[in-house]
């Protein structure tokens, strides 16, 4: 039975997309409850300047809290070397820096082109290494960009190699825009792994904007990917339509993986119950997901025991 790591990114990727600030105590309850449901890795926040993202101002406190939970890997996003220093100081197990494969997207988001970002990655990597913290680079817009459209695969492969040369211990491929299709996932995972080594690419960060999220997970599984990011309740999904969530819904992902007989270590019923914490803390924020509404299949427990 293969172990698949479901990495909860809701406290970072979910919350950063919504306006309402979730109180620190509610965030702690959320993180503790997910860990109690069996989630082994949580991205608890982002070390961005609090003036830019007030929602993430308490990330250091969350890291300190999450580090007290046994068997939980605590990770955070960092936008740059300054953030990396704060992440080391806070005591994360791992940090991840986004590196947009679309230069237009990178310029618009962090006002840095590819050479400047690679220099930032190198500086952040040095800080992480000195602090003994695992350092990953998330190759964002790897499957396409809302500004540039198609992102050439050759470019992703070249920038993946450059990120490793700059100090990335690990990479992830991130479908920031919900553009990925299953054939592309298989192709790109294979190409990047061939370039940098399979052990350096084990994670996919997929979105569900066009409903292809879990289909892309299946494609990733076929290629040997073992870590998938997801957000509880699809929190932070694009609000333009009911069901048109941005983030992959953790509950649906866990249902699928567990039902397939893969081992996530996560108790689905306990995970679904964690939604109550989000609903209570942010009653107006829509939550997504099919599984919480339909419930697991009647023979779910037989499947996972099989």
């Amino acid at each position: 039975m293969s172990f698949i790591l479901v990495s909860e990114v809701g406290p970072r990727d979910g919350l950063q997309s919504i306006k309402r600030i979730m109180p620190l105590e509610a965030k702690k309850r959320w993180i503790a409850a997910e860990a109690a449901a069996g989630v082994r890795e949580i991205e608890v926040g982002s070390f961005v300047p609090p003036s830019l993202l007030p929602q993430m101002a308490d990330t250091a406190e969350l890291v300190a809290f999450a580090r007290t939970i046994p068997n939980l890997r605590v990770v955070a996003l960092v936008p740059n070397a300054k953030g990396a220093a704060r992440a080391v100081e806070a005591g994360v197990h791992g940090m991840s820096i986004p590196f947009s494969m679309s230069e237009s997207h990178s310029l618009r988001n962090v006002r840095k082109g590819h050479p400047a970002m690679l220099a930032e990655i190198a500086a952040a990597a040095r800080i992480a290494r000195a602090g003994g913290v695992h350092f990953a680079v998330g190759l964002s817009t790897a499957f396409g960009c809302t500004i540039e459209g198609a992102v050439p695969e050759d470019r992703v492969v070249r920038l993946a190699e450059a990120a490793v040369a700059a100090g990335a211990e690990e990479l992830s491929l991130s479908d920031t825009t919900g553009y990925a299709d299953p054939a592309q996932v298989r192709r790109l995972v294979r190409r990047v792994r061939a370039a940098v080594g399979a052990e350096r690419l084990t994670t996919l960060h997929l979105h569900n904007t066009r409903g292809l999220g879990l289909a892309n997970v299946v494609a990733g599984l076929e290629e040997g990917i073992t870590t998938f990011d997801a957000s509880l309740g699809g929190l932070g999904g694009c609000p333009f339509a009911p069901g048109a969530s941005g983030n992959l819904v953790t509950e649906d992902l866990v249902l699928m993986l567990n039902a397939m007989g893969l081992k996530t270590g996560i108790d689905l019923e306990k995970l679904i119950a964690v939604r109550t914490i989000l609903k209570e803390a942010m009653p107006d924020e829509p939550l997504y997901g099919f599984t919480p509404e339909a419930g697991p299949m009647r023979d779910y427990h037989q499947r996972i025991a099989a």
Copy 2:
């Protein structure tokens, strides 16, 4: 480039699940517009007694109409031998009879156990053969049943063989309950194909109750499945939650297949425009799907040309 047949089942599986009766003229517009968008096969209705399903009372007229559309394969569902005779008379290209792998489900739905259903299948097959009409058997609840729970794979294999012995030219596996997971799809397709021959099992009828519909399509593609049923706008979905549709949404399926570089012959933009006909004819009926809301990816046309 492989051709994948997307079989539109909305006029049957979508409409039979909703109370409001769609006028004959609107159904005709729907069928004509989908065919004009490139859909090559449509299940236009069901030959059940009109007293049971008034929504399907005009199926013979729809068959006659649909037969006038070039390059469209016109199929209908039949519950029994009597329906098969009406389908032959109406002039369908093909008919399909549902055969529930769960005997409890079969007894509850058509008041027939497995031996009685196999006799009915044999009688319907004779009528189809005599009429020169292609005859398929849909193995429903093949992935699990809301009454019985797990449906043993050995039983599905055995009943698949029995259906072929009774005269099925072709089988499909139907996830009536939205229970299928991708690992199960691969396993069951492989086992049934090994038992009855790959050429007899080329179709999957999947539901999206737990959000796994397209993930299961990917699993089916990996096993060489070449026909997938779907319903425009996920029409007829379970109404308990927005987005928690029963039927696979044709628009999302076509986006995925086309983006993967598979050939469906379907123009996605034209297909999405067909929703207007449903909205005008049944303004209160919810339509589902991610693609119609999010739109295709910016580089969609490059993908399908690739």
